[in-house]
Structure formats: C-alpha cells, structure tokens
C-alpha cells in the first residue's frame, strides 16, 4: 500500500456574499434536506393539505368521467371555460422554469444556479397540471389518441393545419424535454446522494437513478456539451410552446382573439406569471429550509426586476389590444374592447389591471424589492392577475360575439372550482415530494461556481 499524509486545505471562496462556502459545505447543506429530512412537521402539514387537494382533483375527474363535461359551467356561447383558462395559466407558470434554466444559462447569468433546479421542478409539475385540462375538456377523453398520427383503419389523419393539433405536439414535446433536461441535470446530484445516503435502501434507489454516475472526465465532457445543447433547444422550444398557445386563440376569427400581438404577448405573460410563482414558492421555502445563503436577497431582487420588465411587456400587450381594436375601425373589435372595460366582467378587468400593472410598480424602490413580505405580496397579486387575464381573454371574447341573440354569461360550477383547486393541490403535493426526495439546489453547479471563483480570483 502506497500512502501519503493527508493535508487538508479549505477551498474558500473569496466572495463576501458566499463566505465560507466550500465543496464540502455545499454537499452538506443541500444533501441534508433529502437525506435528513428536517422540518418534518412543516412538511407533513403542507403535504397533507396539498394531498387533500389531490383527492379533490381525483373526485372531480371521477365525477366528470361519470357525467360528462356538463358538470362544468361551459355552454354556448362560452364553450371554453375554466379548463382553458387553467391550462394557459399553468403552462405559463411552467415557462419561467425553462426561462431560468435554459435562457439565463445561455446568457451566462450565474445567479440562476441557485434557483434553476427548483424552478425546473416547478415547470415539470405545472406542465403536469396543465396537461390534464385539454384531455378533460375533450368531452370524450378516451379518444385522446385521435390527436396523434397513427395508422388507423379509418384512414383519418389529425388536422395538421389547426393550432390545436400544433398544441398537442408542442405541449407533449415540452413536457418530455423538460423532464429529460431536469433528469440529466440531476444525475451528478443523485450520485452525491447515493454516496452520502445512510441506509441501504436509499443507496440502492439513488444509485439506480444516478445510472452509475461517477464524475468521470468523459461523463462531464459529454454532459456539459449535452446540457448546453439541450438548453439551446429548450430556449426556442419554450417560445414556440406559448406562441402556439397564443395562436390557439389568434387563429380564430373571434373579436378579442384575432390579433397578431397574441404570440409574443402570451410568451411575455407566461414568463411574468412564472416568475411570480417562483417568488411565491421560493420566499417561504428559503426561510423554512434555511437556504438564505443559497437563495439570497440578491436573487430575489433580480427576479423582482425580471418581474417588472415582463410586467411592462404585458402592459404593452394590453395597450396593443385596445389600440388595435380602435385602429381597425371594426365594430365588433371595438365593442369587445369596450365591453371588457365596462361590461358585466368590468370588475374582473379592473382587478386584472390592478394586479398586473399597478402592483409590480411597488417594486421600484430597492428597499421594497428587498422586503420579502412586499415582494411576496406582489408575486401573489401577479399570480392572481395572470389567472384573471386568461379568464378575461377566454370569457369576455366568447360571451358577447357577433350576434346579440346568442349572448350569454359564464357561470363556473362547484366542479370547476374543485378541479382548479385540485390541480393547485397536485402542484403543491408534487413540490413537497420533490423537496423530500431530491436536492432542491444543484450541488454540481454550485461547486462549479466555487471552483471557478477559486481559480480565477
């Protein structure tokens, strides 16, 4: 046996914001959450409340399958109710995760490192919630596979010129790519958990999912190129997905939907709502799990700035809708615009303006951006506002269209609400499971930051 005396040296980072963060402290701080499971009372309370939501969702879906979509408030003229509102809301929330993990990676925004893993998980769970709605809304969900091209005996094909079919491809590609991107990013951290795990079962399970990762130079070489290319593909993908969601509306000739501003305006709205959701989740969790060293006030402040910038793009979208309606001179377009601001849904409309345009303006002073309570409040307001925005787009355009004789109102039912609350429960329950079993911050990427600082500073 050839052996040498151990000589240990600290790998400190000469950066005041991360004083004392070392390779070993990163492993200890982050792997401690899934392996030791601290704050178990908080976890169980939160998880059980969310799980009650999951049960409500299961019951709502069961009832829907028994009785059909008539249990919802959808009818003529408003045939697209909560299902589509919630679908667009959830998928929009998901987009911030991809924006943070892919687009900010390509733009070399180092601060994304601490939040990317968590927001990718958020993306995945939001897409899972979103994906449920169009299937339920089909009416005959057992025939969902008719949307996929397969060699059928009827000689039929999906209508590839329809944005609704584009949506099937966009959302399923997005869900698959998000899952794989997240999983590949997890591999090195799963290996860390395998090596740190105390029990045989955990070693086996983390070992199984880590695919035998051992940090080999060749692993990293392929991994890095793959990860960067995946990010490069995810960036246009996320833009395409919400543009297509926007086209679901814009391709219809309905006043209030038929507008070229929709795809970019939807993408901005998606990132706006997604950042609001990230803030809503991260502000309490960093405190409960003592991750303030990793997700710092600076991170929150930067996210607040993105929130404000996106808020202004969304505000421009609202302005453009009204301007277009006026500029076209089209009677119906003008009526829909006026009806939104003064019609029976006017309180919703003005609530939307207050939540999405006024509330974020609170964040101009630095002191308020750094105040977690204010930031949390604004983020909540934007979450609500973005949900109301989709409600306004879907419902106000449909409820009074060309023929006054076919006008009507939309009344969501009990089952509409339980389905919606149920998906919130599903989303939160999945996040709780994620926090319990997987590392919420990417340890490998944090080590890269420490390592680079060390050699370059």
């Amino acid at each position: 046996m050839i052996s040498h005396e151990p000589h240990s040296r600290q790998t400190d980072v000469p950066n005041p914001s991360r004083t004392g963060m070392t390779f070993s402290s990163i492993t200890a701080d982050i792997s401690h959450l899934p392996l030791e499971r601290p704050r178990s009372r908080f976890w169980w309370t939160g998880f059980l409340v969310a799980f009650a939501g999951v049960m409500a969702l299961v019951a709502s879906i069961g009832w829907l399958f028994l009785r059909g979509v008539g249990v919802w408030g959808i009818n003529m003229p408003v045939a697209w109710g909560f299902a589509i509102v919630n679908f667009v809301w959830w998928i929009g929330i998901g987009h911030a995760g991809t924006f943070i993990s892919a687009i900010l990676l390509l733009l070399h925004q180092r601060w994304r490192t601490s939040i990317s893993r968590f927001t990718e998980a958020m993306t995945l769970f939001a897409v899972a919630c979103a994906g449920i709605y169009p299937l339920l809304h089909l009416g005959r969900p057992q025939f969902f596979y008719w949307l996929v091209p397969y060699p059928d005996t009827m000689g039929l094909w999906p209508q590839f010129r329809s944005p609704l079919v584009w949506d099937v491809f966009a959302v399923s590609t997005y869900a698959t790519v998000s899952l794989l991107f997240w999983y590949i990013g997890l591999l090195p951290d799963l290996a860390t958990l395998r090596d740190k795990a105390g029990t045989r079962l955990k070693q086996r399970l983390y070992g199984l999912f880590s695919l035998g990762w051992r940090g080999d130079g060749r692993h990293w070489a392929h991994y890095e190129r793959l990860y960067l290319t995946l990010a490069g593909l995810a960036a246009p993908l996320v833009v395409s997905v919400h543009s297509i969601v926007g086209l679901d509306f814009a391709v219809a000739i309905l006043p209030g939907w038929h507008s070229t501003i929709f795809p970019p305006y939807f993408v901005a709205g998606a990132i706006f709502s997604g950042f609001a959701m990230v803030l809503t989740l991260v502000i309490p969790l960093r405190r409960v799990y003592r991750l303030e060293n990793y997700i710092t006030v600076r991170h929150l402040e930067l996210m607040a700035k993105v929130l404000m910038a996106m808020g202004w793009i969304v505000a421009y979208g609202y302005f453009a809708e009204f301007f277009d309606a006026w500029r076209t001179g089209d009677l119906y377009e003008r009526f829909v615009a006026a009806n939104r601001a003064t019609g029976p849904y006017a309180p919703w409309f003005w609530a939307l303006m207050a939540c999405n345009i006024l509330a974020p303006q609170l964040l101009w002073p630095r002191a308020l951006r750094q105040n977690t309570c204010v930031l949390f409040g604004v983020a909540l307001a934007v979450n609500v506002g973005m949900w109301v925005e989709r409600f306004i787009i879907v419902v106000t355009s449909l409820h009074r269209d060309f023929l006054p004789s076919s006008w009507g109102m939309y009344h969501p039912t009990f089952w509409d609400w339980t389905t919606f609350l149920g998906t919130i429960g599903l989303f939160v329950a999945l996040l709780f499971l994620f926090l319990r079993f997987l590392p919420a911050v990417s340890m490998a990427e944090m080590r890269s930051l420490v390592g680079e600082k060390e050699t370059h500073v």
Binding site: M1, F23, T173, L208, G212, G215, W220, A221, Y223, L233
Partner: protein, 176 residues
C-alpha cells in the same frame, strides 16, 4: 503487495492538484487513465488531450432529420386525406412548420441523450473505483485520478516515480 490490483487511485483535495497530475501523467506517457471530479473542472479534458464530445453535432443531424420527417408526414397526410378549403393548395407548407419544429426538437433531444448515455458508458453500476471507500467523496469534494494498470506505460516503479512528483491527499490500490 501480492493481491491483484487494477492500478492506483490518487486523491486530491483541489481541482488544481488533479489538473497538475493529469498534465504530468500525459508527459509521462500514460494514456489510459481516468479522472473523477464532483463538477466539470475547466480545461481538464484539454489537458488530458481528449477529443471534444460529438454530442451537439449528432443532435443537429438528428434534429434536422426529425423536422424533415415530421414535415413529410404532414405533407403526406394532407394528400392522403385531402381537405379542400375553398380551393386552397393541399401543400400548405407554412401550416406544417410548427409541428416540424417540435418534432425536430424532440428527435434531437432523444437522440442527444441516447448518444450521451452510450458515449459516457452509462448506465454502468459496477466500476472498480467503487470498491475504494474513499471514492465516495468523488461526488462531493474530492478529485481522483485512476492510473490503470492496463496502460502500456504502467508498472509499479513508473507509478512510484509519477507519485513522487505529486502531493496527493491519499493513494489507494484499486482491487481487481
């Protein structure tokens, strides 16, 4: 020293220690060594003189093929089940762009991940280094170099000469 070994596993506490060792290993003529690090150490592959990963190129080709395949699927569907909308052409290619794009991305990602797994040799659950207890820290805060005994340059003496120039944290034999 009678037990059979598969070479030695050399441990470092710093990425620079590993980089230095790899540089010296190359200079000493070793080729079949493996490095292990808890994060992608910059320049490590360059110093080890290994070829860059072909993954992005393969993904580009796969993506283009996927997009083309998706496009022709739609063109074929439009002819096979013609829907005449006011005499508009059946070959309405702009409407086929979104699905072609999505299928291109999907193919690129699936093929890219498959290529990564094959090239990186994953999944692989048994590896000689796993038999060394200290190796558990390779995924956390230690850096390892495995000098394999099937390297043409490898011998106990050559390994000892190589080690004398280094300041490793520990050196362990890898059991066969």
């Amino acid at each position: 020293m009678t037990a059979r070994t598969q070479g030695i596993l050399i441990e470092f506490t710093e990425p620079d220690g590993l980089l230095d060792a790899v540089r010296r290993a190359r200079e000493a003529g070793f080729t079949r060594f493996e490095t292990f690090a808890p994060y992608p150490v910059e320049d490590l592959e360059k110093v080890a003189r290994r070829k860059p990963s072909p993954v992005p190129g393969i993904m580009l080709v796969a993506g283009l093929l996927g997009a083309l395949g998706g496009f022709f699927l739609q063109v074929y569907a439009a002819q096979d089940y013609p829907v005449d909308v006011g005499g508009r052409p059946l070959f309405s290619w702009p409407a086929f762009v979104p699905v072609s794009f999505e299928l291109g991305v999907l193919t690129a990602v699936l093929v890219g991940i498959a290529t990564f797994l094959v090239r990186a040799g994953l999944p692989r659950y048994d590896h000689p280094a796993f038999a060394v207890k200290r190796f558990a820290r390779a995924s956390s805060d230690r850096f390892f170099l495995w000098l394999r005994d099937d390297d043409p340059q490898y011998s106990a003496d050559a390994a000892q000469i190589f080690l004398d120039a280094l300041k490793p944290e520990s050196v362990t034999e890898v059991p066969a």
